[in-house]
Symmetry: C2
């Protein structure tokens, strides 16, 4: 086990009707907030009205900024920063999924900064201050509701880049599984891929002894694998939705990564794909992860056997462990496919013509390698993209 520091301060308020507590919780921080959300869906579901009623009841004023898209845009973040500055707002309330929350975090870190907020995302500057952010989560997927991360897309250059800093951990997050009843199947499935990916990025490690966190990761993966089909079959199954929602948060609050090195190459490759093609992050991951596995599994067959056995309950072929390893990868691919996700780039109408560009971008023009489990240079990334065709 490797040395580590772990702390996650986000207060989780979980369960039925909890969105009605939002005003009271916000009030403890501020009496004026930026209410940040995406499209009309929170109005259609009635969530918008409930949140607004709760804010009003607690005497919290708000200024609205809607229009967050999947793969949230830097341009809207800048609008939000201006809006907060103009209105003297010191608290951001994000109502939505990972994109809304990531956008809110970018605004939060941008308001007190004199330079261009994009500096933080390209590593040109390090944030020293951020407004507090809180969330009412509507999509279990990104884990942003208790993570210190934010991913933003700069359409100028098709760049999707992430920032991780403890300042970005939300003050509190409200998680009501009922809010996910109306999610389209495809979004439920994309969320599942994102959650699985967050766990797998941590699970595939070169740290040799990480028994406890291995088991925690396996617990979370099994929870997703068992409960997502239930959510798709019965969208209003509270218990299944609740399991997914809580597992999705824990998947990315970093307890599963304690004491072990992590990989994150699949995420980096996927960011290049959705940065250019604007596909759903989860769908990009369901394509990239199995391809990544096929490329790297030989470097640590026992770990892939463990994955096959403990997550997918597959019988181990002790004489031919490689077969079991491949069966585990096939099981993941089958799962993604069964829940309606693409497992090839072709299914997302992505051709091979920009492979070179993507491999180039995510390795800094071939200058560095990515991934903690196996180091991947530009050529390796190209090979993985080919396996994902």
């Amino acid at each position: 086990m490797e040395n580590f520091v772990f702390q996650n301060k986000t207060k989780i308020i979980f369960g039925r009707d909890t969105e009605n507590q939002v005003g009271e919780e916000v009030k403890a921080y501020s009496s004026k907030v930026l209410l940040h959300y995406g499209t009309a869906s929170i109005k259609k579901s009635g969530l918008y009205e409930r949140v607004v009623a709760s804010l009003k009841k607690s005497g919290v004023e708000f200024v609205e900024l809607s229009g967050v898209q999947p793969n949230p845009r830097l341009s809207l973040v800048k609008e939000g920063i201006d809006l907060c500055r103009k209105n003297g707002i010191r608290f951001i309330l994000a109502v939505g999924g990972g994109s809304v929350i990531d956008s809110a975090k970018a605004i939060a870190v941008g308001v007190p900064y004199n330079g261009d907020v994009w500096d933080f995302y390209i590593g040109k500057a390090k944030p020293e201050e951020a407004l507090p952010v809180a969330t009412v989560l509507t999509i279990p997927a990104a884990g942003s509701e208790s993570s210190p991360s934010s991913v933003i897309t700069n359409t100028d250059g098709d760049l999707k880049r992430g920032l991780t800093n403890d300042l970005l951990c939300p003050a509190f997050s409200i998680l009501n599984p009922e809010l996910t009843f109306t999610l389209p199947d495809y979004q439920t499935a994309c969320g599942a891929a994102d959650i699985m990916a967050h766990i797998m990025e941590r699970y595939f490690t070169t740290t040799e002894h990480a028994d406890f966190t291995d088991r925690l990761c396996e617990a979370a993966m099994k929870t997703i694998v068992i409960n997502i089909p239930k959510c798709l079959k019965e969208p209003k199954n509270y218990e299944a939705r609740a399991e997914v929602m809580w597992a999705g948060t824990v998947a990315h609050n970093d307890i599963l990564g304690t004491g072990r090195n992590e990989d994150w190459a699949s995420h980096q490759i996927e960011h290049e794909i959705s940065g250019i093609y604007d596909v759903a992050h989860g769908a990009g991951l369901s394509v990239v992860f199995p391809a990544w596995m096929k490329y790297v599994y030989k470097t640590n067959i026992p770990r892939f056997v463990q994955f096959a056995s403990r997550v997918w309950n597959l019988e181990i072929d002790f004489q031919h462990p490689e077969k079991t390893a491949l069966e585990g990868i096939a099981a993941l691919e089958f799962f993604f496919s069964e829940i309606g996700l693409p497992i090839t780039l072709k299914e997302m109408s992505i051709e091979t013509d920009r492979f070179e560009e993507m491999a180039d971008k995510c390795t800094g023009g071939g200058k560095y390698a990515i991934g903690g489990f196996t180091k991947l240079d530009k050529n390796a990334v190209l090979e993985i993209l080919k396996l994902a065709r």
Copy 2:
């Protein structure tokens, strides 16, 4: 799944040599602390010197209060409160195991309070303020290093009582598994029983749907069951010690209890035993828990079958699930016995003569029932004590 609120702010600093960071970490809070510890063992191991060197290096002054015993005493707590007040101390650093940490927490909550600190432990008053506490942990067991709980013994009346309040969550805790290399086998084993009990108190629930947290509990229990024998065989096995130490903390940081009701009857019964007989808490639990299980298992056989199957890898007898349930209980008893713990009161030289008194005390003179999994009245507690003979 039940509605819940979860937040745990304790910063965990985990790994080799981390005790040398204590001065720097403390410095962020205070330049004068109460250094609270138990007996000579931290001096023998050299830990005392390293902690003192780190404090001095960071320019942190300290006043010492040693002498914490297992089942920490109210009398010493009161001494600590006086000492802090006299010296204007606003920060407590606990170096030791659960008893030292619990004692530190009691001091922390007592200093700003005008009345008798025992009021908090008997529910006569509710704390509104506490000094920050930090810990350097030497025994993986109590989980007090990141829990909001403290258990104190008042020898006036042989009363052992607990207080739970978020104010008691340590600001930070330093966990170096190397510090546990020199633990006597019996203490390692007692710690294992305590950790298992913290998980089992949460695992045995009447909440029907708690799939994810069930699996997290099982992950933690398996980690203990697999790694404790390794620690006993090779006391300096860093990896095994690390697994136990981290699982021991997570076992009681309350993430395993999210969304489910919990039991805690075994703990309450054990507190009456160690309140009178001053036995190690872990040893008391290794006696009480199997007896509790034998008394209650019929109320939910499927849950005990799950315990047998998932934690102990026992084959399920589908025609006779009760047999499997009993095998699971026997497996736990066998485990405790194998690692050197008592599984009967007799082994701790405790006779039947004060059973009535203990059953009386832990049910408020028969006025209320205890336990969330099965409600136990005074008679039920008596029956469990008899099963534990």
